[in-house]
């Protein structure tokens, strides 16, 4: 694990999140939400492209953003498992988005002062974008959780279902050398602020904060859930049957 691996980890989080969010296009509960989730997916895809392009340059092995996205196998993806989980119902998607966006916002805000100036520039843009994602997810969490009885029940169930996967966001996967050099941020240092934002969003939504118990993980080592293979099959299908396809 080196700078390439770090950038790929961050880029894969954004790429896989974008792919999952895009699945809502033409399927969201209302037209405005269709547009909203597609917009958030577009932000995530933009961040993924910037991070993976940079990763490919750092690697210097002749790969680019497309070969990283389309030509790696499942075990080579370094995203956290949270982003690959199936969308479930709308409440599960909102719970995933609240947890991911809050994490990303704290991460990118810290990376704005990375000693890697290219990474700092990417983070400065992404900080503003993810702030909007956090607001959107928190708004829906409140609307669902503190709305009807059915909404409350489903939002509560969604938060409980997804919560265990949030532990991996703060696992100790980043090389200590990169942190010491000021390039990267130690994920564990982000959890206190993350908890404070998420707990207040859940409290406003009258949704109980689940206990910390099971802590699944392994995504940073290329170990993924059953859902990942299906996601990649769809993501990579066109490029695999028409190698080098571009538009």
């Amino acid at each position: 694990m080196d700078r390439f691996g770090y950038l790929v980890g961050l880029g894969d989080d954004a790429l896989v999140a974008a792919q999952r969010l895009a699945e809502w296009t033409a399927n969201a509960p209302e037209l405005e939400e269709d547009v909203a989730l597609a917009n958030i997916a577009l932000d995530q895809l933009g961040q993924a492209r910037l991070l993976l392009s940079y990763a490919a340059e750092v690697e210097g092995a002749g790969r680019d953003e497309d070969s990283l996205a389309y030509q790696r196998g499942e075990r080579e993806f370094r995203n956290c498992q949270l982003v690959e989980l199936p969308n479930g119902d709308f409440a599960v998607t909102i719970a995933k988005l609240l947890f991911l966006a809050t994490y990303q916002h704290g991460l990118y805000a810290a990376l704005r002062s990375s000693t890697d100036r290219r990474l700092a520039a990417i983070a400065a843009k992404a900080t503003k974008e993810t702030a909007y994602h956090v607001e959107h997810a928190a708004l829906w969490t409140r609307r669902l959780g503190d709305g009807t009885a059915v909404g409350h029940e489903r939002m509560t169930a969604a938060v409980e279902q997804v919560w265990p996967y949030t532990h991996e966001l703060f696992s100790d996967w980043v090389p200590h050398g990169l942190v010491a050099a000021g390039v990267a941020v130690a994920p564990g240092t982000l959890r206190a602020d993350w908890l404070s934002t998420v707990e207040s969003a859940l409290a406003e939504a009258t949704v109980p904060r689940p206990d910390d118990g099971w802590r699944p993980g392994g995504g940073r080592d290329g170990v993924h859930t059953e859902a990942m293979g299906y996601l990649l099959a769809e993501l990579q299908y066109l490029h695999r049957i028409f190698p080098g396809a571009a538009w």
């Binding site: 405005e32 547009v35 577009l42 932000d43 910037l50 607001e135 708004l139």
Partner: protein
């Protein structure tokens, strides 16, 4: 318009005017200079280099803007211009010029307020309807047809309108 294809490149100032006049492909009433995404135009032995910055990381219009800038410069006698993308410092809606804001409003798109307000507490300013000027407006959706806009409606004249959100 600068003429003389094949001769020495025109001055960077003139080229900046030409590149800056390229309309934004999504908000066509404003030019890329007015939108604040044209960062620099320089000429040298390596040719003409134009630097632009994206509004959002995933802005789908960036490739079109780069192609339009190259076409405009080629038509003005500066072929083979290189278009570079710079992320730092990140674009802000504060970079939209006064002329750009007026043109957006004229086209029925509410311009953004300032992102950095004076004082310790940022008070959101009323969003005025770009058609009738009423401050009686409501947000319909925080997202709209382009990444940089939100969908609003005026409760006085009942017209929906796009609004460039502070960023």
């Amino acid at each position: 318009m600068v003429t003389g294809a094949g001769t020495a490149p025109a001055a960077a100032v003139a080229l900046r005017e030409i590149a800056g006049a390229v309309p934004d492909p999504e908000l066509r009433v404003v030019s890329i200079a007015e939108l604040g995404i044209l960062r620099d135009v320089s000429t040298g032995p390596q040719g003409t280099v134009v630097t632009i910055t994206p509004t959002y990381s995933g802005c789908p219009a960036l490739a079109t803007i780069a192609a339009d800038v190259r076409d405009a410069l080629a038509a003005a006698g500066a072929p083979d211009a290189e278009v570079r993308v710079a992320l730092d410092p990140p674009w802000s809606t504060d970079d939209i010029t006064a002329a750009g804001r007026a043109k957006l409003a004229g086209a029925g798109i509410a311009p953004p307020g300032p992102t950095r307000l004076a004082g310790p507490v940022a008070l959101p300013l009323a969003v005025r309807c770009p058609r009738c000027g009423s401050a009686e407006t409501v947000e319909l959706s925080r997202f709209s047809a382009t990444p940089c806009t939100a969908l609003w409606r005026c409760t006085s004249c009942a017209e929906p309108f796009d609004r460039v959100k502070e960023h």
